[in-house]
């Protein structure tokens, strides 16, 4: 029954194909925006959280300003942090410990399957214990790194239990397994406990000096990020200002023109969240505007269709169509228009999301931005666009159904 109505509605849409497509433009832009927004939302979150290199309330992180917000911290910075800054910061009042870290990306290969992930360094010597405590690093399998591990790596929990291995590798990676990192063989000494954050769970970690000797980080006397642990938390703001002052002097920039940031993890997260929020807001506004335009387009097209098909409506009524039948036909038609628009929009949105993550992958050398579009997102978007079409089709459909059969038959004579 309903399938007959659907096929009748589709007929009417196909008859005016061009107008149908034009009407749907707003819908498919809107849906494309929604799909790519949601699809990339997860990926962006990953990219953003990965910037958040240190945890704790008594920690400051120092980074050179990035050109792109989505890359790994300090990567792509036109003026990276010089390594000697670490010692200078160490001399500042209230600084307990400062250490430089490297963050980059590397190919990890296990049993002929490979994947690009981000790789972070762990400081050696006496800093190691402080760092481990600061980040609360614990293993679920194997052990943490030591200064002797020149060929050892520590992996996040996703390589062992999470979804990451499943999407890439044949089997979970365990402590003791051999992997190739940038084509060099390493032994996995341990797997970290699950932290529920991609920063840890997807990460590859190795010793600072190993990253240099293995050429994963260029030996150019720069660091990607400097972590600073303070002695007195109450004075952290003053310390932050002191570090800023030092960096301005070292890097020869004026106040207000800083090409670096000194932030608490909280601040870092907030500023990145606000970037993310701005992006999302922008895309949401585009989505809303195009959906509204699309919806009004559907309404307009459906009103036109009612006018054009007044006679047809009269004919259908004269051969037994009820008001509800006419309503259903027009209602389905507008819903289909929304849904076909949605279908195209989903296609566009998916290509955009995957395309962007692919391009970002090439540009950043890591898959920090990843699109994740689930079947539920697709089905949800389809259902939404159908529903959306019907909302704007209700009024025209009511008008169609209420037409007086005699007038409609006469009217178009």
């Amino acid at each position: 029954m309903i399938s007959d109505y659907i096929s009748l509605s589709v007929r009417s849409l196909l008859k005016r194909r061009l107008r149908t497509y034009l009407t749907m433009i707003g819908i498919f832009i809107g849906i494309a925006a929604v799909v790519s927004l949601i699809g990339l939302g997860e990926g962006l979150r990953v990219a953003i959280t990965s910037q958040f290199g240190f945890l704790g309330t008594d920690v400051l992180s120092v980074q050179a300003a990035n050109i792109n917000f989505a890359g790994a911290p300090g990567q792509g910075a036109p003026n990276p942090l010089q390594e000697d800054l670490v010692d200078k910061i160490n001399k500042i009042n209230n600084v307990d410990r400062a250490f430089g870290r490297y963050i980059g990306s590397a190919t990890i290969e296990f049993r002929d399957k490979q994947k690009i992930e981000f790789i972070v360094s762990i400081p050696g010597g006496e800093d190691r214990r402080i760092f481990e405590r600061m980040m609360n690093l614990k293993t679920q399998d194997g052990r943490l790194l030591t200064d002797q591990d020149t060929r050892g790596a520590l992996l996040g929990s996703n390589y062992h239990t999470g979804t990451t291995y499943g999407a890439t590798f044949d089997r979970p990676i365990n402590a003791g397994d051999k992997v190739l990192i940038n084509d060099k063989q390493f032994t996995v000494v341990g797997i970290l406990e699950n932290k529920g954050s991609f920063i840890f769970d997807d990460a590859i970690m190795m010793n600072n000096d190993v990253m240099i000797t293995e050429g994963i980080k260029a030996d150019d006397g720069t660091v990607n990020i400097i972590g600073v642990k303070v002695k007195d938390v109450d004075q952290i703001e003053q310390t932050r200002l002191d570090i800023e002052k030092l960096l301005r002097k070292e890097r020869d920039v004026k106040e207000g023109e800083e090409d670096f940031t000194v932030q608490t993890p909280q601040q870092a997260l907030e500023s990145l969240n606000s970037t993310l929020f701005a992006v999302q807001l922008f895309v949401t506004i585009i989505a809303v505007i195009s959906l509204v335009v699309g919806g009004i387009g559907i309404m307009n097209t459906m009103y036109t269709a009612v006018l054009e098909r007044t006679k047809e409506i009269g004919i259908m009524k004269s051969i037994g169509a009820r008001n509800s039948t006419i309503f259903t036909l027009f209602f389905i038609e507008s819903g289909m228009m929304g849904m076909i628009g949605g279908l195209i929009g989903i296609g566009l949105g998916m290509s955009f999301a995957y395309g962007l993550s692919y391009i970002a992958g090439l540009a950043l050398g890591s898959d920090l931005i990843r699109a994740s579009i689930s079947i539920w997102l697709v089905l949800g978007a389809l259902a939404f666009s159908f529903f959306f079409g019907t909302i704007f089709g209700v009024l025209p459909a009511i008008r169609a159904s209420k037409l007086n059969p005699v007038d409609s038959l006469r009217g178009a004579k």
């Binding site: 009748l8 047809e312 169509a321 009820r322 007086n404 059969p405 004579k413």
Partner: protein, 235 residues
């Protein structure tokens, strides 16, 4: 009336239809009385604007009278609601119009199936029925043709087939040959006569053409919204 052999299937008693056009009232029917027995073939003639189409629309449940009663198959339809009227239209009435009134986007076969869709008939059943009806009007070759690929006479034959799709008691034909030349008009009339004679359908037909009207058992003349003369034609 009480002496009539058959109980009337259509009965209009003092039916008035007044259209309100802004300030102006147009009296389309002014106390129309008409009775049609089951199996009868009645022609309605009259000048343009005399209310013929309005009367047909009332009988066909497309509209309700301003005043008066209409019985269709024993039921008073003059006060029915929209949904019940649609139901009766779909089940008991078959319309044939001067303009053929086929749906342009649908093929001949689909046009014939449409009333059956509205009655919720299963696909196989309505397909078989539509094919049978197309065969009856000798257009089974043209089943997949759209209306604009058919001649006027062929379109009207499709319309006749469509009017029969739900086995209606009554066929209402409003100037069925009005848009056809006399030759094709005759062919169309032959099919209508066949429906009357062989299928025993009750037919009410509006026409301008005296010769066409004479095919009926009886001719009713309408003027200013009421019957002014009845002529029994010798069958």
């Amino acid at each position: 009336m009480a002496k009539k052999p058959n109980k009337p299937i259509i009965e209009l008693k003092d039916v008035w239809k007044i259209y309100q056009m802004g300030e102006v009232k147009v009296v389309a029917l002014s106390g129309l009385d008409l009775a049609v027995s089951k199996g009868e073939f009645v022609s309605i003639m009259g000048p343009s604007g005399s209310g013929k189409s309005t009367a047909m629309n009332m009988i066909g449940c497309l509209d309700i009278p301003t005043k008066g009663t209409i019985f269709l198959d024993g039921k008073d339809i003059s006060q029915m609601n929209e949904s019940d009227l649609a139901q009766i239209r779909g089940q008991k009435i078959g319309f044939i119009f001067q303009q053929f009134n086929l749906i342009p986007t649908l093929t001949a076969l689909e046009n014939i199936m449409l009333p059956m869709i509205f009655q919720g008939m299963p696909r196989d059943e309505r397909m078989a029925k539509a094919k049978k009806l197309l065969k009856m009007v000798e257009l089974d070759e043209r089943m997949d043709h759209k209306p604009n690929e058919l001649s006027g006479g062929q379109q009207q034959r499709v319309a006749i087939a469509r009017s029969l799709s739900n086995d209606p008691e009554v066929i209402l034909a409003d100037e069925p040959t009005g848009n056809l030349d006399s030759k094709t008009g005759n062919t169309v009339m032959d099919f209508l006569k066949k429906l009357h004679k062989e299928e025993g359908k009750t037919i009410v037909m509006v026409t301008h053409d005296e010769d066409v009207a004479k095919n009926a058992d009886r001719i009713e003349y309408l003027k200013d919204g009421k019957i002014v003369k009845v002529l029994k034609s010798g069958r």
